[in-house]
């Protein structure tokens, strides 16, 4: 489903060139739940950004369902992100000035649909993560775990078939982390959503189908 072939990513400044990823070859199959592990700064988030079409590789090829994305323009990339990929971030990235339901609706704003359809889908996604009663709350009125559930609802509201989660339990205590992990496992098992999750927590990684390990930008497992 996601294919990375000899992918490298360099960050250049005037004086320094940093290799974030070095010659990565990776295949993520449909319906897989893969975790990415490694020490801080090893390139995990960069790998996730490349898979999520948020960044471009310095060299190599990223393909989605066999189609290389390097020739896609901004509009086409945006459409792929909107329709096929959902993102979950460690920092939640909720818009503080919008209610829970309005936050969840964000991906649907970039699709042709009515306000009513949009709201219906957002409420369904919030029900799916157990927050159907908090739709009018604002993010600051929620706990960390609840905020991450809102972020998951936002990620799945457009029914993408790929979920990319960057340390989704990193800011949560173990109980809340388990709850979030439960939701992700459920999405993977019941809806066949392909999930790639960056984590530092071996306990969470053990629950996934496969672990990819990075070290200094290189794939070591």
């Amino acid at each position: 489903m996601i294919h990375l072939q000899q992918v490298s990513k360099l960050y250049r400044t005037d004086r320094v060139e940093t290799t974030a990823l070095d010659n990565i070859n990776l295949e993520i199959g449909k319906g897989e739940f893969v975790s990415v592990m490694g020490p801080s700064g090893c390139g995990k988030s960069t790998l996730l950004n490349l898979m999520g079409l948020l960044d471009e590789p310095s060299s190599g090829r990223v393909a989605l369902d066999g189609k290389a994305i390097d020739r896609y323009g901004d509009r086409a990339l945006s459409r792929v992100r909107n329709e096929r990929i959902g993102f979950i971030f460690q920092q939640f990235h909720l818009v503080p000035d919008l209610s829970v339901a309005d936050n969840v609706e964000i991906p649907l704003l970039y699709r042709r649909m009515s306000n009513r359809e949009r709201r219906k889908a957002a409420l369904a996604a919030l029900d799916r993560v157990g927050l159907g009663s908090r739709t009018h709350h604002f993010p600051t009125q929620l706990s960390g775990g609840q905020q991450q559930r809102v972020a998951i609802a936002r990620a799945i509201v457009g029914r993408p078939n790929i979920l990319l989660a960057d340390e989704p339990t990193g800011n949560l205590d173990s109980q809340m982390g388990d709850e979030i992990m439960g939701i992700l496992e459920d999405l993977n098992q019941k809806e066949g959503t392909t999930i790639v999750m960056v984590t530092h927590d071996p306990r969470m990684a053990d629950k996934t189908h496969r672990v990819v390990r990075l070290f200094d930008g290189r794939q070591v497992q």
């Binding site: 960069t46 950004n49 999520g52 948020l54 960044d55 901004d74 509009r75 945006s78 459409r79 992100r81 909107n82 329709e83 993102f87 971030f89 920092q91 990235h93 818009v95 000035d97 919008l98 309005d102 609706e105 964000i106 991906p107 704003l109 970039y110 699709r111 306000n115 936002r154 457009g158």
Partner: protein, 399 residues
């Protein structure tokens, strides 16, 4: 998307309040300046009612005799000879006496009672031939004639505006005007001229009344201005000849010659200078507001970098981000303009400025609105293009 943006702007009302206030104040300033300009322009387009080219005004100073009522007969004789002398000069086509001078500030404003209600109007006392000097166009009746001085009633000529105010669509000629005061001769209309705008092109039209001033009647010798129509091409040097000839008739009197085009130019300066000053101030204010808006927007967008990254990750294209920032700015501008409009519409509701027509008011409002939207969009273009250019991965990492 519009609903989403409205919610976003509304939920950020506290942080947006200053920007909305800034837009509101700028809108008010632009409205005032634009409306002033449109008011003058609208007035300028209305016919003036007289011809000012080739007309000179001679202001007469009667010196020691001016205050002496006892010398009325001598004064009358001198004025008669002055008229004869001036009319005998070859470049002079016509000459007439007038109490007020067209285009000059101030003058004679009167309030007369008509059928129990007060009617305001500009007033002048003028002699025979005044219509010829200023090229007044009669629409009904006639101008004054010397025998009018001997009538038991006082002849008056009114302009169309006053005719409409008092008589509606009826012909006023031969009819009495105003409710006479005890002991005064009643006014009777002998003619109607086209709207006469004594204040010039930049002032609004208003009622105007001409009373007769006769050289044969001491009561009528109240004019201090001699208006002369000269032949086209008369050189400025004629002024010297004119004064010399008049001085020959009345050595003790003083004569100051000023062509009406000069008086008109002075009047234009009087009205346009404040507008130019206000316009310049408004321009620099808008420039400052514009630069301020760019800075505030830029700062706001920097603070919202991660939100922009999130939107890009959720499927917003560069164009969508660009559009969103512009639309947000348009929503903010609309709130500022709405607030300003609520204040501004108190002017017609409370009749604060009577001379402002609905047409000018509406046009001023629309132009000020358009100016604010244009300014806002222009100011949002650069920050929004910067926001649209940011890489999603970088934006999400932004601290």
């Amino acid at each position: 998307m519009t609903r989403h943006l409205l919610k976003l702007v509304w939920n950020r009302k506290r942080s947006n309040a200053l920007m909305i206030l800034e837009i509101c104040v700028s809108f008010l300033v632009v409205f005032v300046v634009v409306t002033m300009g449109l008011f003058l322009l609208d007035n300028y387009r209305i016919p003036l009612g007289f011809e000012w080219k080739h007309v000179w005004n001679v202001r007469i100073g009667m010196g020691r005799n001016e205050a002496s009522a006892g010398d009325a007969a001598a004064q009358q004789a001198t004025l008669t000879r002055l008229f004869q002398e001036v009319r005998s000069l070859e470049p002079v086509e016509a000459a007439a006496g007038s109490f007020v001078v067209p285009f000059e500030q101030g003058g004679w404003e009167g309030t007369y009672k008509v059928q129990g209600r007060n009617v305001e109007m500009g007033v002048d006392r003028a002699t025979v031939d005044f219509d010829k000097v200023l090229g007044l166009r009669l629409v009904s009746g006639r101008w004054f004639e010397e025998p009018d001085a001997a009538q038991s009633w006082e002849p008056v000529v009114i302009d169309q505006d006053l005719a409409r105010t008092v008589y509606g669509t009826a012909d006023p000629v031969g009819k009495a005007l105003f409710d006479p005061n005890p002991g005064e001769r009643p006014f009777r209309v002998v003619g109607v001229v086209r709207d006469f705008r004594k204040g010039g092109e930049l002032l609004p039209n208003g009622n105007f009344l001409f009373r007769f001033s006769s050289l044969d009647h001491p009561e009528g010798q109240s004019f201090r201005n001699l208006l002369i129509r000269v032949r086209p091409g008369t050189p400025a040097a004629f002024e010297e000849t004119l004064v010399k000839r008049m001085q020959g008739v009345a050595p003790d009197w003083s004569f100051e010659v000023q062509p009406l085009p000069q008086v008109r130019a002075t009047a234009f300066r009087f009205f346009l200078t404040p507008l130019i000053v206000a316009g310049t101030v408004a321009f620099f204010l808008l420039l400052m507001v514009g630069l301020g808006l760019i800075g505030v927007l830029w700062q706001n967008l920097l603070q919202r970098t991660r939100e922009i990254g999130l939107r890009r990750a959720a499927g917003a294209s560069r164009a969508s981000v660009h559009r969103q920032v512009l639309l947000e700015q348009i929503v903010l501008t609309s709130l500022g303009v709405l607030l300003g409009t609520l204040l501004v519409i108190q002017v017609p509701i409370l009749h604060l400025i009577g001379v402002l027509s609905d047409k000018v008011f509406t046009a001023g409002l629309l132009v000020a609105m358009a100016a604010m939207y244009l300014l806002s969009v222009l100011c949002a273009l650069y920050p929004s293009s910067l926001a649209a250019r940011v890489q999603p991965a970088e934006a999400l990492r932004y601290e």
